[in-house]
Symmetry: C2
Subunit: 338 residues, 2 copies
């Protein structure tokens, strides 16, 4: 453990100790996903690349970590009145699965154009789904109204200390596994929507290795975290076109997640979408892992050469794998980008 630096603000809403507490709670709930590597992929990337296979969680994404860490801490009487969440589908399935585990009702506000796999995965876990329109509706307002009406607890997708601490266990496992392999990663990259995962990872990784660079990877046109970090204040996306990265479309970083990422000097890159299919294909053929588009964007950033490794070692988080079959077939058939 390294010395604390002045910029590692001790007054941040989530501390490494909070992440350690979440890791305790998650024992037997989330798997300790492996770091997987492929010589072919590392050669192609120009440096050692290991991926953290979070799509292997039983809900198909890392979201089980934050959802369980929050819901398990709701007092029994309150939790009995149920939970409400708004989500494009991965947080949805995680909240539904955790609610089922505690045998409490879950209501999920989902966009009607969410991937079929995500809608079915949420419904099959017993949740009630309320659909909204991404363009015209305010999902957060719908979620709050449903929670107010029923007395259920709103489980936000990213901007809550328990959510960030839960997602931070991804970073803690990376740190522990790297130590076991006797390697210090130069870079840790993860997908970024509202910034909960990357804030949690930064909390864990920067506490262990202050000089390791943590990089938030966003789809082109949805780089609100990159622009917010550059501006020093939260800014939103404007006129963004449709994207296959359905899980990375949050309009602005969270207040809490932005504060953490700013304090811990998280970097950010915007990844052109055509590299995402390439990364999905490479994950399947070289790493033997299925990913969804959003889940593959950190690997896409490396393959696109947006991050030049120059012999350095990078950990890329594959955050989720809830893709429809049609899209997997499309990725397998994708031509190599120029």
């Amino acid at each position: 453990v390294s010395a604390r630096r002045p910029e590692d603000k001790s007054d941040l809403a989530v501390t490494p100790a909070d992440v350690a507490g979440a890791a305790e709670r998650l024992r037997g709930v989330a798997i300790h996903s492996p770091l997987v590597e492929s010589e072919t992929l590392s050669r192609r990337a120009g440096g050692r690349v290991l991926v953290k296979a979070e799509g292997l969680q039983s809900v198909g994404s890392f979201k089980i970590r934050g959802a369980y860490n929050l819901i398990s801490q709701i007092p029994d009487a309150t939790r009995g009145r149920g939970v409400v969440a708004f989500s494009s589908g991965n947080h949805a399935q995680a909240v539904a699965a955790v609610a089922a585990r505690f045998d409490v009702p879950a209501t999920i506000v989902m966009p009607h154009d969410a991937p079929k796999a995500k809608i079915e995965g949420t419904r099959s876990r017993g949740a009630t789904i309320v659909f909204y329109d991404r363009v015209h509706d305010d999902r957060e307002a719908i979620g709050r109204r449903l929670a107010d009406e029923s007395g259920a607890t709103l489980v936000p997708p990213f901007d809550h200390p328990h959510i960030v601490a839960g997602q931070g266990t991804v970073g803690l496992e990376i740190a522990d596994d790297c130590e076991r392999l006797r390697l210090v990663p130069d870079l840790v990259l993860a997908p970024c929507s509202g910034g909960g995962l990357i804030a949690g990872i930064a909390t864990s990784i920067k506490a262990r290795w202050p000089d390791t660079t943590v990089i938030a990877c966003e789809p082109e046109h949805y780089d609100d975290m990159a622009r917010s970090l550059a501006a020093g204040r939260r800014v939103g996306n404007t006129d963004a076109p449709a994207s296959i990265c359905d899980a990375l479309l949050a309009n602005t970083p969270g207040a809490l997640t932005f504060a953490i990422n700013r304090a811990l000097r998280t970097q950010a890159v915007a990844v052109p979408e055509h590299w995402v299919l390439t990364a999905m294909k490479a994950a399947m053929t070289d790493l033997k892992l299925v990913t969804e588009p959003s889940g593959a964007i950190a690997l896409a950033a490396v393959l696109a050469g947006l991050i030049r490794l120059d012999g350095r070692t990078a950990i890329a988080v594959l955050s989720g794998a809830n893709a429809d079959e049609r899209l997997l077939a499309e990725a397998l058939a994708a031509p190599e980008p120029l």
Copy 2:
């Protein structure tokens, strides 16, 4: 650890202690692959199913375990003269990777119709490939001649105690992970060709839980282990048609692997090939794991209903994932069998 039973012959060529020794050697070489599960899949199977994701090894299969356990124990001077192996492709890549790690030459005897991914994976690791014809040539004789000529060490694919002990670490990890999850598996299933993996798994699993059933899964028409166990002596396959399970075509069990499987009461089933594509598809969509046909056959046995779970818990080893893209696309498009 349970009491030793009379039928657990202490004079078997591989003991649980040998497997523990192999596990020590393999630290940092093989990953501790996760047990992955999906509610959808378990519901469909009628009992809890967890899979051991061995395709995530850097060589795409469990074969790194036995190959490293053997090659690392060859005296330095001898190992310097190189290694020779015959293999349809997974053992080939593993031996090539281990030889490269020790910086010694590797010559691999491979069938000319091996999957492209396996040939490329072997060549890219620096091995010299000698092709043979599955129908007309004796790959074992070619391998022995090459070894005799060069002074290289022959690394057999299954019938050697160090190979079996190495593969047995798959079973040891299953046992340790199950204990951590506080579950006792009723059944452990794994693909079977020459019987090295299943012998190693039986060695580990039966030492921990004598009442757990260990099941060797073979392709229909290649059920030499099933028929050998039934006959009480080693018998071969006859007039077997072509199969997509290219890694499971050994003609007879090994002498050593047969003795172990017989003594430890390994069971065996033959799986119709059309269920293999179904299992590959389920692995991709429900478990988010890519597998090759041979690697998916234990899961296929469960999905085909050859093993009725009736609420019991099964561990199915997904042993390898070196499949060509075309075949992955074919599996994704596979219709559900009746």
